[in-house]
Amino acid sequence: MEIWLGAFQNVFNPTGLFLIAAGVMMGVTLGAIPGLNSTMGTALLIPFTFAMQPTNGLVLLSAVYCGGTFGGSISAILFNVPGAPEASVTGFDGYPMAKAGKAAQALGIAIMCSCIGGLFSVFVMNLVSPQLAKIGLSFSQPEYFALGVAALTLIASLGGDNMLKAFVAGIIGLLVATIGIDPMTSNERFTFGGKALIGGVNFIPAIIGAFAVSEILATAEAGGISSDIQMLKVSTTLPRLKELIQLKWTIIRSAVIGTLIGILPGVGATTAAFVGYSEAVRWSRHPEKFGTGIPEGIAAPETANNAATGGAMVPLLTLGIPGSATTAVIIGGFLVHGLQPGPMLFLNQPKLMYSIFISMYTANFFMLFAGLIVAKLFSNFRKVRYSILGPCIFIFATVGAFGIRNDLTDVWVMFTFGLLGYVMKKYKYPIAPLIIGLVLGELTEISLRRGLRMANDDLADFLFRPIGGTILLVSVISLIYSIYSSVRKKPSILESTAAPAGIDIKGSD
């Protein structure tokens, strides 16, 4: 009790509350700008935290992390440009919803579900961190492979009438993910003798190109007339309790998925968002509606990706192992103060640990307000004509792509995927599977290869593991059902996302 009181005092004072509020605002704003993210924000703040008290410094970093994970959904919903990779799935339903004049509702659902997901994971982290860490450690390569497959089966669920095209797009994404140096043997793959592709294809410029640049090209062809005229008046409306109750199963399931995935080292909010969305489609009574702009399509990824923030802190705090890229940076925040995250820190500095828990609770609440403010600010940009907005988005996208590795190769990647995205939209190939394949390709391939090495090339070992085998079995059944449904000619759910509505792309030839 004394420790909790001390932790409350550490956080609930003017300095602590100011740092949380500032951190959340910074995180949300950074996350909303394409090319910037919470990882960058926390990295920039590390030197500043050196001059602060350890508690204040770590509280600030945690707040930026929470805010940044949500922020990307703002630009994903309003502009179809995910501000951060974990928000790329949010755009699948968020953008169509915004185009239908429901941007306020979409943003409200994103904000509220992010808050709920974040609070859930912090609560779980608070209660059962050591036990959760053990679960995380029990995950091995076959389980990671099973997770990758579970998320990839989303391609079939989204395919509908365009299933063959969805598979083509997904496989292209998986192939692009193989470009570069093979992580296991260091062989160069598909680099064609040049240096440009040795580092592989980063999925962030690919996502920015596939969504933003392709839309700019399509709008240029349409004479600069955007289909977004319905979005002139945009505000943010938080969902009512009744709406949240309708989404309760999606939220609960995604919160659990996000927390569990966040615990796994090396797998972060992006994978959590994809798996959360995939499971929402799998368990929905109307999977064909996903991709057309439905609340579940926003609730699932946003709950999952913010739930992953608390989950990612579990291995960090209990074992000293980062659960995501941002928590890997946050380790730096510990080290500048001479602290080593891990089990001993819980014993030696319990007040600090509980201060972090309380600050994350508070940050998730503050995110409601920060999200409303930043969403309002960004939504004002929607009133601007596309002839002005389009070039601005393009320049931001270019700088964002360049800023990842300070390399113009990434800008060329953005442009290439922009062209590819344009062609795919024109000929009704869904873009979402391309992104899914690109994001999950490396995880799936490497975990398969490492798992087979561990099992002496015995694939059956994957199936007989309790966790991995169960996930694989459910995924395969879901895949077969999706294909069966498609053969029985259920309506397509990605046709509305394969080409921007209202834009007159002449002919499909």
Binding site: L36, M40, L44, L164, K165, F167, V168, I171, I172, L175, T178, D182, M184, T185, N187, E188, R189, F190, F192, L217, T219, A220, E221, A222, G223, G224, R385, Y386, S387, I388, G390, P391, C392, F394, I395, T398, V399, F402, G403, N406, L408, V411, W412, F415, G418, L419, V423, K426, Y427, K428, E445, L448, R449, L452, N456, D457, K506, G507, S508, D509
Partner: protein, 167 residues
């Protein structure tokens, strides 16, 4: 039948199929010493490429059958209309921008590219055309170079000197 074959999806599927064959050939150059067994660097790409060939053929056959049955229109003649001209202009502008950025630098090049883009997208207000590009470029330079420490391309020669005035 010829018109059906020139349907966009069929052409793209055939390009994808041929591309997959070429890339499959590329995988034979990856090299791998099979000491302990297991999947090498080429196995996974090969599997994907075989699947890609199969699915792209499937798309082509599916579309061909639909065109023959009259469920889809046959290929229409390609026309170079105003929309296509704007599209190719936008593509050309982007390529030029990325290519010239290393030579001219972000600070000098970006406003002019933005002005061209705004004209291309149909912006008519000269006030916005000649204020927003410069204001936005300046804002981005300050944000990304001073705050985020992203070294935006500075260009060479005189453009480098101009860029050094700010970053």
């Amino acid at each position: 039948m010829l018109k059906a074959l020139f349907k966009g999806e069929i052409v793209i599927s055939l390009i994808t199929f041929i591309g997959a064959i070429y890339l499959y050939h590329e995988t034979t150059k990856f090299g791998f010493i099979d000491l302990y067994g297991g999947l090498g660097p080429s196995h996974w790409p090969k599997l994907l490429l075989v699947l890609l060939m199969a699915f792209s053929l499937g798309v082509a056959i599916n579309v061909f059958r639909k065109v023959k049955k009259g469920l889809l229109p046959a290929a229409a003649a390609m026309t170079l209309d105003r929309g296509k001209i704007k599209l190719f202009s936008a593509i050309g502008l982007i390529v030029l921008y990325i290519f010239l950025m290393k030579i001219i630098g972000f600070l000098v090049l970006t406003p002019f590219v933005m002005i061209a883009f705004m004209y291309l997208l149909g912006e008519k207000s000269k006030v916005w055309i000649f204020t927003i590009p410069f204001a936005l470029t300046l804002g981005i330079v300050v944000l990304f170079t001073k705050v985020m420490y992203v070294p935006l391309p500075r260009g060479i020669g005189i453009f480098l000197s101009i860029s050094h005035l700010l970053y």
